[in-house]
């Protein structure tokens, strides 16, 4: 009994001794990242809608509006305006700058019907973001909020090449080990390109814009649905979008050294 007690005591002393001698300590930290944009002049935010294109499997405009509104409701002090999404493509097609329209009505109809598949297809509509009168009118309608708009391109993507992955090996003695193997693989996935444009609803002027891009590739046999890939990619993009509007805290850990 006494022997066991002294053993416990000894191991206790050892633990304390080792802890006392440790020359480093891991510590959790929270790094605050200041917002890129001063939005103190606004009480409300209106996610107006996006010019979107790429795959037909996901409505990039509606999904992005829905996701950003719900995130802002949870993580920002701004009041989120719940209103219908603006028909940006139609509005842009019917308000083209002078000198571009030969037969306005017919061309506008033609433009509205055009599918947006890549960045080049977005160009005929992008002038709408610089149309201060248009945005000022929207601003007046919603009591001068901060307006968020922009473009969303969600396009399928495939790539083949050498990929490193981990393979589990069990030896004759039943021991498990993992080793890296390089192999040729056909992969399919998606690219999400978003350009967020922030507009002052009081003047209709652009105050900030930010272009973000993420991509994911999956094993060809995985058959990952487009919508779940879209959400995966938005998980990467949303923190960066939010850090434009409000101070964010990044959690992590660091090592303090003696």
């Amino acid at each position: 009994m006494t022997g066991r007690l002294s053993l416990k005591l000894l191991s206790g002393i050892l633990v304390v001794g080792v802890a006392g001698c440790a020359s480093f300590y891991e510590i959790p930290i929270e790094t605050p990242i200041a917002a890129k944009l001063d939005v103190s002049a606004f009480q409300r935010v209106f996610i107006a809608g996006f010019l979107s294109g790429g795959t037909d499997d996901v409505d990039g405009n509606l999904e992005t509006v829905r996701l950003l509104r719900s995130q802002l409701r949870m993580k920002s002090n701004l009041r989120v305006i719940d209103a219908d999404v603006l028909p940006l493509k139609t509005d842009a097609a019917s308000s083209r700058p002078q000198g571009q329209a030969a037969g306005p009505a017919a061309e506008a109809r033609e433009l509205t019907e055009l599918e947006i598949k890549n960045e080049k297809d977005l160009q005929p509509y992008e002038h709408i973001f610089a149309d201060a009168d248009y945005w000022k009118r929207i601003g007046e309608e919603y009591q001068n909020p901060l307006i968020v708009t922009g473009t969303v391109l969600f396009t399928p993507h495939s790539q083949s090449g050498m990929v490193q992955r981990e393979r589990e090996i069990i030896d004759p003695l039943g021991r498990r080990r993992v080793e890296p193997v390089r192999e040729y693989m056909e992969r399919k996935g998606f690219i999400l390109q978003e350009k967020f444009i922030f507009i002052d609803g009081r003047s209709g002027a652009q105050i900030h814009s930010e272009a973000l891009r993420e991509e994911r590739l999956y094993n060809q046999n995985d058959n990952t649905p487009a919508l779940s890939s879209y959400f995966e990619l938005m998980d990467e993009i949303i923190p960066r979008f939010l850090s434009t509007l409000s101070t964010q805290k990044v959690r992590g850990s660091r090592v303090l050294i003696k």
């Binding site: 929270e30 790094t31 050294i257 003696k258």
Partner: protein
Amino acid sequence: MPTRLLTVVLLLAALTGVAYADVRSDAKAQVEFGIAVAQRGLWKEALYRWKRATEIDPTYAAGFNNLAVGYEHEGMLDKAAEAYERALKLEPNNAMLRQNFELFKEIHDRTTQPQTP
């Protein structure tokens, strides 16, 4: 005569060594106190202690590393970058320091990404 000179040189070297050890142990005491208070969430006090440590001994990499961590926690990212760089200059092969710096860089790069006009 040469023996006397050698004795003086040795004496000076020994004294310098003692002074250096004193400086390092003073800085180490500040660093240890800083760690103890940071573990209790008193980051401002910790920051003050680590700053003192680097003033006492500007060759003490651990002091600069902890100072950088403290700055990171306070959101002073430019100062953190500066402190990490000083620490890495002093101990470029310190794995823990490098790991801290890599993690810091991920956050810092995110905040300094070029913006579209």
